[in-house]
């Protein structure tokens, strides 16, 4: 398993995504976070996944680590790891759902992904399209070129030589999806 598949790898990835320039610099704003329930609901809405028992149980277990009031001081490493796990579950379900849909246009994302092929078969163009789809789902806008490159690089770095089957494709996508869903843009209110 490559290093980018570890929790640390995902954390680093999302941290990278968190400070991507995307607009006008402003210092006169108050930042707040989504609360525990807002994070949960946002993931459900973005991925269009109805939480199953496993997701509900996981959420119940990490709920108290997620922001209670939305105050930015509630941002912490335990909060981020809890959210990463939660995002991972939603992403996993969304990817599995999409993989079962034979008409790509009907998928939530992954419209250019061929789930019968290996990760290495995902071309640069496919990776870029995935990056755009994730950004639109979790950030509600298209990614900048820099943001898109980061997600594309993340996918590339996650591909390892020890798992070259088609079964690895959803796993690679899950890493990119989770990182995007847990980025700062996705968790601020």
């Amino acid at each position: 398993m490559g290093k980018a598949r570890t929790g640390l790898g995902i954390a680093l990835a999302l941290a990278s995504l968190a400070w991507i320039p995307s607009g006008v610099a402003r210092a006169d704003v108050t930042i707040s976070l989504k609360t525990f329930d807002q994070l949960y609901n946002s993931l459900a809405v973005a991925t269009r996944v109805t939480p199953d028992t496993a997701i509900k149980t996981y959420f119940d277990n990490v709920k108290l680590r997620l922001p209670k009031t939305g105050d930015v001081e509630e941002m912490s490493a335990p909060m981020l790891t809890g959210l990463t796990g939660l995002s991972g579950l939603f992403c996993e379900r969304m990817i599995a759902n999409d993989a079962r849909i034979s008409t790509p246009a009907n998928r939530r994302a992954h419209r250019q992904v061929d789930f019968t092929k290996t990760p290495a078969d995902m071309t640069e163009a496919i990776r870029q399209s995935v990056a755009t789809e994730y950004a639109r789902l979790f950030w509600q806008r298209d990614p900048t070129a820099a943001e898109q490159n980061l997600i594309v690089d993340l996918i590339g770095n996650a591909i390892t030589t020890d798992d070259t089957t088609a079964a690895a494709t959803p796993k690679i996508l899950k890493i990119a999806c989770t990182a995007t869903a847990t980025s700062l843009l996705a968790i601020v209110n």
Binding site: W19, I20, G23, N41, T50, G70, D71
Partner: protein, 403 residues
């Protein structure tokens, strides 16, 4: 880009670790995360603030909101997300949980109290009725009405999912059905104040003073420390309050009296209620629960509660600071009239505005926001105390939108 630089809580106190330092840099450099510049960004931010979820780019409501904002109809735009399922399942549910849980926790399980607030918003009813009305909001699909001991009715209802609130919550009257186990007369029914959840939080054991104290804290945003006064007549202070704690009458006069004089004056409104064995109870028109006359030997000459009469000594012209803006009767019999007094006060609308601001904008209002709070509160009243309007109005406030 504006030139002003406002030091936020974020930048002033959160820099405690390398991580937070990095985060601060991020926020300052890329504040567009939460600041809307274009009509589309404004629409997205308003939607996110009101529902806690993002609106998908393909969602036709986004274009609708964008169009309204472009046309200068920002408030109308903000009313769109107040029809979203998550406005009820998330925003209002958490808003109500904080109001009813004893520790003001947002983690409360769904209850009759929360259902009533969701229902009030959904039906655009006058929010003042929340403190005096004889109604409840229940599951349209369930013909069995909940009893005052029922602990599963509302949690089961909420577990159906986020779409259930809008589709199935329906107003029913009276608040407690014939098989509920509670037969209080109309004068003693007071909306949220006679919900099971409120009773469980504030009427279990004790002396019911907690219910009074929390009514002020939750609906008038007035912790008791802010309204205690040792100048107020002690005529209604009950027998269980020692007039010379530790043998020192000065302690009573300078400390105890400050809270008990106003509190016990109004406490009679809750006199016939109790929460015993997991059940909200009403003692009937001829009996007072023992908790209201506890420890009679502590000061035998103290006030004896014999009925549900109450008097707001804070409204006495000699002591009224004008803070609460009382309007209408300031004394009465039973909980309904007491609830009406609270809801009709000027402070009620201001308090609701502050609570909504905290919920939607994720920050407390401060001294700099006094004028804004008053303006929004006045519009809340003008709109007929519609909660949806209040949430929408707060969400479009420039301070909330970081504009």
């Amino acid at each position: 880009m504006r030139a002003c630089v406002r030091t936020t809580r974020f930048t002033s106190s959160a820099i405690r670790s390398g991580f937070m330092t990095a985060l601060t840099v991020v926020a300052v450099a890329h504040a567009s995360l939460v600041a809307a510049e274009t009509p589309r960004e404004t629409a997205q931010l308003i939607f996110k603030r009101l529902t806690g979820t993002a609106i998908h780019l393909d969602d036709p409501r986004l274009a609708q909101m964008e169009q309204l904002i472009t046309s200068g109809k920002k408030l109308e735009a903000a009313l769109v997300p107040t029809q979203d399922d998550y406005f009820y399942a998330s925003t209002l549910t958490r808003f109500a949980s904080v109001m009813v849980e004893r520790d003001e926790s947002p983690y409360g399980t769904f209850s009759d109290f929360q259902a009533m607030i969701l229902g009030a918003a959904m039906t655009d009813m006058d929010a003042r009725e929340l403190l005096s009305g004889n109604f409840s909001f229940e599951d349209r699909n369930n013909s069995t009405r909940p009893a005052t001991s029922d602990t599963t009715y509302y949690t089961n209802f909420a577990s159906v999912g986020p779409t259930v609130f809008k589709s199935r919550l329906v107003r029913k009257t009276p608040q407690w059905g014939p098989n509920s186990g509670l037969a209080a007369d109309d004068a003693n029914i007071a909306g949220l104040l006679t919900t099971r959840a409120w009773a469980q939080s504030h009427m279990e054991a004790g002396t019911n003073r907690r219910a009074l104290e929390h009514t002020f804290k939750i609906f008038l945003c007035a912790p008791i420390e802010s309204w205690k006064s040792t100048d107020i007549n002690e005529m209604r202070i009950r027998r269980d309050v020692d007039r010379a704690p530790g043998g020192n009458p000065v302690t009573f006069q300078t400390l105890c009296r400050g809270c008990h004089a106003p509190m016990d004056g109004m406490g009679g409104a809750f006199a016939r209620y109790d929460f015993v064995g997991g059940r909200l109870t009403w003692s009937g028109p001829n009996r007072i629960p023992g908790k209201m006359n506890n420890n009679p030997d502590t000061f035998p000459d103290g006030y004896i509660t014999i009925d549900e009469s109450w008097i707001n000594l804070l409204a006495d012209p000699a002591h009224d600071t004008g803070r609460f803006g009382w309007r209408g009767d300031t004394s009465g019999m039973g909980l309904k009239s007491f609830g009406q007094m609270i809801a009709n006060s000027q402070e009620f609308k201001r308090c609701m505005t502050k609570r909504v601001y905290r919920e939607v904008c994720k920050r407390d209002t401060g001294a700099n926001d006094t004028a804004t709070v008053q303006e929004i509160a006045d519009r809340f009243e003008t709109s007929g105390y519609k909660l949806r309007n209040l949430f929408a109005d707060v969400a479009v406030n420039s301070g909330c939108l970081n504009q």
